[in-house]
Symmetry: C2
Subunit: 158 residues, 2 copies
Amino acid sequence: MSPVIAEVQWLSDEEQATWRAFNLASRIVDGALDRQLMRDADMGHAHYAVLVALSEASDYQARMGDLADLLEYSPSRLSHAVRKMEANGWIERRQCPTDGRGQIAILTDLGRQTIEQAAPGHVNEVRRVVLGPLSASQQEQLRDICETLILRVQNQTT
Amino acid sequence: MSPVIAEVQWLSDEEQATWRAFNLASRIVDGALDRQLMRDADMGHAHYAVLVALSEASDYQARMGDLADLLEYSPSRLSHAVRKMEANGWIERRQCPTDGRGQIAILTDLGRQTIEQAAPGHVNEVRRVVLGPLSASQQEQLRDICETLILRVQNQTT
DNA sequence: GGTAAATATTTGAACGTTCAACATAATACC
DNA sequence: GGTATTATGTTGAACGTTCAAATATTTACC
């Protein structure tokens, strides 16, 4: 089942600490944001991201596939999310006129109101939990580091 | 429902980029680790962490509460996870002798074998996805940053 | 133009996590 | 010592995500 294990370079204490800190920080931050949004706006922050993306799109609409690429969501994740948000009245779906397979997600007025109300609390929480504790240079470092990670993973054969 | 919104200091472009990069990197890394473990060892990395914690504990055992604190898991998350892993034969549960409420989770031989087989692949993936792309000083920065975030959130009223 | 391959999206089942409710045992208090 | 309170852990329901399968439409190819 598992290949004969070849070379493994075990993690040093520092490496392990780095990895665990990153892992824990991710989890804590994600949880905090989710709880804040759930408490104040009745949605998780995965749904919030969809609303933001649509509110930034021209005419408040986008094709499912483009939206999924933009957010780096799996098609099915987005589909489920949009179905839920459609039920909430935040989004509508229409057939794409130029491609019969395509579906277009459109932010409704209610959706726009919803995100406008949710945004301030969310931004405050991002500040409280992520940006606030970090110095300007740490923010720069973090951005650099994370962009490095993102590029590396995306340009590799997973 | 929502409080009258007070001051919001919207995110600058740099802040937004930092936050989005962190968020995406977290998601990508987490996903990569999960998929690798699922593929090679039939468990998510939340379960992996439980096995690691137990394998590092004296006598390969720990009380549920201590384990949950150590991993920063909610009691119920741990309970569900352990139930699943008990079904796999990786963990056993016993009553705590000194406290009738307590339960002790014990790593079985099979559990030990399982993690020994899973560890190399996991470590390689951590290297590939997180540590590898970063320079030594970036690793130091990342650790610093994440530890800052962790401390800050934990010492605040959530 | 018709068949095969590729693309876009949805669906349902399985799984993990959260939250609230519950059971049980230990501690505090009088 | 008996009752209220607090601590430990588990349970079940709800929800979001993943994966594999299905459907429908478009593109490529001959």
